[in-house]
């Protein structure tokens, strides 16, 4: 006990308490996390306000005699007539290694029931994006482990690739698969307006796959106030920027920005800001552009780190031309478009390869992957064109039939169950085999079985070859010959002993 008293005495020994000048105001109106305050004549826009009792707010609307502010945390403690102080600070969140493996709220406070977070540093939630001089072009791939994405819609470190689709089309699964596939990349998953049960399931999945150790989950569930949902992606980005400044590569997932826009719309309407299209305020574009612009690939002088963003947008009945989807499509460097029809047809991930695009990722793709992606894209495009035509005609010439058969097998190869990302070299070899026609003799139903056994066989017998593809990142003539030999031998074995060989 005496020790404790002495410790406290030591702490306050050198303390100099002085008269503080404070700028104050009085709450005149309060409701749904938004307060109107009279006074605060010196307040600055986006300044942190102290409502007392550990409740803080953010000044957003500065008017002649009053200030409109949003309240973070428990706004039921704020009553009319309550005094409010300015703090002279802007909103900051704790950042650093201490956050890894934790689930935090939009203010960086733990919500996983574990110990308090002892972070040394703090970063401002709102920050101006890095300028042109500090950046460099995207040149390193970020492997998602999903064949359809890594081959045809490659993502580079520092890129912003939108994942867009209706509800229940597997958007979050793609994001989680990508997190699971990362080893040297720090991941930040920002859940905005989602069911708490869904967040809990996701955290459990990450824990199960051992991916939580390099992940921070920023959770602003649907039961959290709109203000917390509004701030969560900015907080997540601040946490990511810390690691980027340390020269690390970071992946951030915003799940999802439609709900973020809803939260902002709610706040803006309560603040009585004029509404525009679909009742969103006029600056809803800037809301997302200033967030996504913070993703960058820094140059060597600025630490060589990167922040890759995978924002998610949920469309209503596949309507891509709605306000928020078009906004975010125009901000990002490409989009992965998921379709309900494909999903229910059993093509999972339900990526519409025709509508999906990656604007900068191609520059980051390795040579070997580029080599297989070219013919794959062409074969699939021809398949899609012929497929529609083939539905009306029963007798097809052999060339057309073989194109369709090839396309069906390629589609089968691109199917992938959730939470099972593939390594780059595995993706390269199976897609190489498919585009070279080695799968043409295999029954479509057996393609997945073939793929599994083929990769297992290569891992067992051709370890060196797989290692070379991984290291050299290209397929030279010698490698191709070896691959041809190994594939031919395996196809023969599979045709003899496997169930999948074509009859007749």
């Amino acid at each position: 006990m005496s020790n404790l008293t002495r410790e406290i005495e030591n702490q306050i020994k050198g303390l100099k308490l002085k008269a503080q000048r404070q700028n104050v105001g009085v709450v005149t109106e309060i409701g749904d996390g938004v307060a109107r305050i009279e006074g605060l004549s010196d307040v600055q826009s986006s300044e942190l306000l102290d409502f007392g009792d550990g409740v803080f707010g953010l000044a957003l609307n500065l008017e002649a005699y009053s200030v409109g502010a949003v309240i973070f945390g428990d706004f039921t403690k704020v009553k009319e007539g309550l005094g409010v102080k300015t703090t002279g600070r802007i909103l900051e969140v704790p950042v650093g290694e201490a956050l890894l493996g934790r689930v935090v709220d939009g203010l960086g406070q733990p919500v996983d029931g574990k110990s308090a977070i002892r972070a040394k540093d703090k970063y401002p939630v709102e920050k101006i994006a890095p300028g042109v001089i500090a950046r460099q072009s995207v040149n390193t791939p970020l492997q998602t482990g999903i064949k359809a994405i890594d081959t045809m819609i490659p993502i580079g470190r520092g890129q912003r690739e939108l994942i867009i689709g209706d509800r229940n089309t597997g958007k979050t699964t793609i994001a989680v698969d990508t997190i699971i596939n990362q080893r040297d990349v720090i991941c930040i998953y920002v859940a905005i307006g989602q069911k708490t049960s869904k967040i809990a399931q996701l955290v459990a999945k990450l824990e199960e796959t051992g991916s939580l150790d390099h992940t921070v989950v920023v959770a602003a569930g649907s039961s959290d106030p709109a203000t917390m949902q509004y701030i969560a992606p900015y907080s997540g980005t601040a946490m990511g920027e810390y690691f980027m400044d340390q020269g690390r590569d970071v992946l951030i997932i915003y799940d999802d920005l439609s709900k973020h826009a809803w939260a902002y719309r709610q706040m803006a309407l309560l603040l009585r800001r004029p509404s525009g299209r679909e009742a969103y305020p006029g600056d809803v574009f800037y809301l997302h552009s200033r967030l996504l612009e913070r993703s960058a690939r820094m140059n060597k002088e600025n630490g060589n780190g990167s922040l890759t963003a995978l924002p998610i947008i949920e469309t209503q009945a596949g309507d891509l031309s709605a306000y928020i989807p078009t906004n975010v499509i125009s901000i990002t460097d490409g989009q992965i478009f998921l379709e309900s029809d494909l999903f229910f047809a059993g093509i999972r991930p339900a990526i519409n390869v025709g509508l999906s695009v990656s604007r900068v990722g191609g520059a980051a793709q390795n040579k070997a992957m580029k080599g297989v992606a070219g013919p794959l894209r062409l074969d699939l495009a021809q398949f899609r064109a012929l497929q529609a035509f083939a539905q009306f005609s029963s007798d097809l010439d052999p060339a057309t039939r073989s194109q369709i058969e090839r396309g069906r097998r390629l589609t089968e190869v691109l199917k992938q169950p959730p939470y099972s990302p593939h390594a780059v070299e595995e993706q390269i070899v199976i897609l190489w085999a498919a585009t070279q026609g080695y799968l043409d003799e295999i029954e479509v139903d057996s393609v997945r079985d073939f793929e599994q056994k083929y990769i297992a066989n290569l891992k067992l017998r051709e370890k060196k070859l797989l290692g070379d593809i991984k290291d050299k990142k290209e397929l030279d003539e010698k490698m191709v010959k070896e691959l041809e030999r190994a594939t031919k031998a395996f196809v023969n074995i599979f045709a003899k002993f496997g169930k999948g060989a074509k009859k007749g």
């Binding site: 406290i8 008269a19 005699y65």
Partner: protein, 133 residues
């Protein structure tokens, strides 16, 4: 909407005109109120509310409120006023007894507060200790 904005601008200017060296010009206030009353009802309500809020706010800005937990002598009050007048234009002085501040003095001029009270020191101490923990 545009008209409202213009009206608000006019009101802001008339609030400024209602004061001279921090003192309220009553004749000017009466004149302004008469003018705003003559507007159509909906506009008159808006104009009068805005004008009176503005006047009250400006009046508060030039009023020094001294809060203590026991009464101060006239000399002490005058000394405080002299110190504050170096930085603020004070035209009115109010003394308040507030036992909650426990001791010391708290000065208020409009939205600005200078807190030299025991209560403020305890709060500061609590914040420091909470941060350490």
């Amino acid at each position: 909407m545009k008209q409202d904005k213009q009206l608000k601008k006019i009101i802001l200017n008339s609030v400024q005109d209602s004061f001279s060296f921090g003192r309220l010009l009553e004749s000017q206030v009466v004149k302004n109120i008469k003018l705003y009353k003559s507007l159509p009802t909906s506009k008159a309500i808006l104009a009068l509310t805005e004008y009176l809020t503005g006047v009250k706010r400006k009046l508060r800005k030039h009023t020094l409120v001294v809060e203590t937990n026991c009464p101060l002598s006239l000399k002490q009050v005058e000394k405080i006023k002299r110190i504050v007048a170096k930085k603020y234009q004070i035209t009115k002085l109010e003394s308040k007894i507030n036992p909650d501040i426990l001791g010391g003095v708290r000065l208020r001029m409009g939205d600005d507060i200078y807190d030299e009270s025991i209560q403020s020191r305890i709060t500061q101490l609590r914040e420091v200790l909470e941060k350490e923990i």
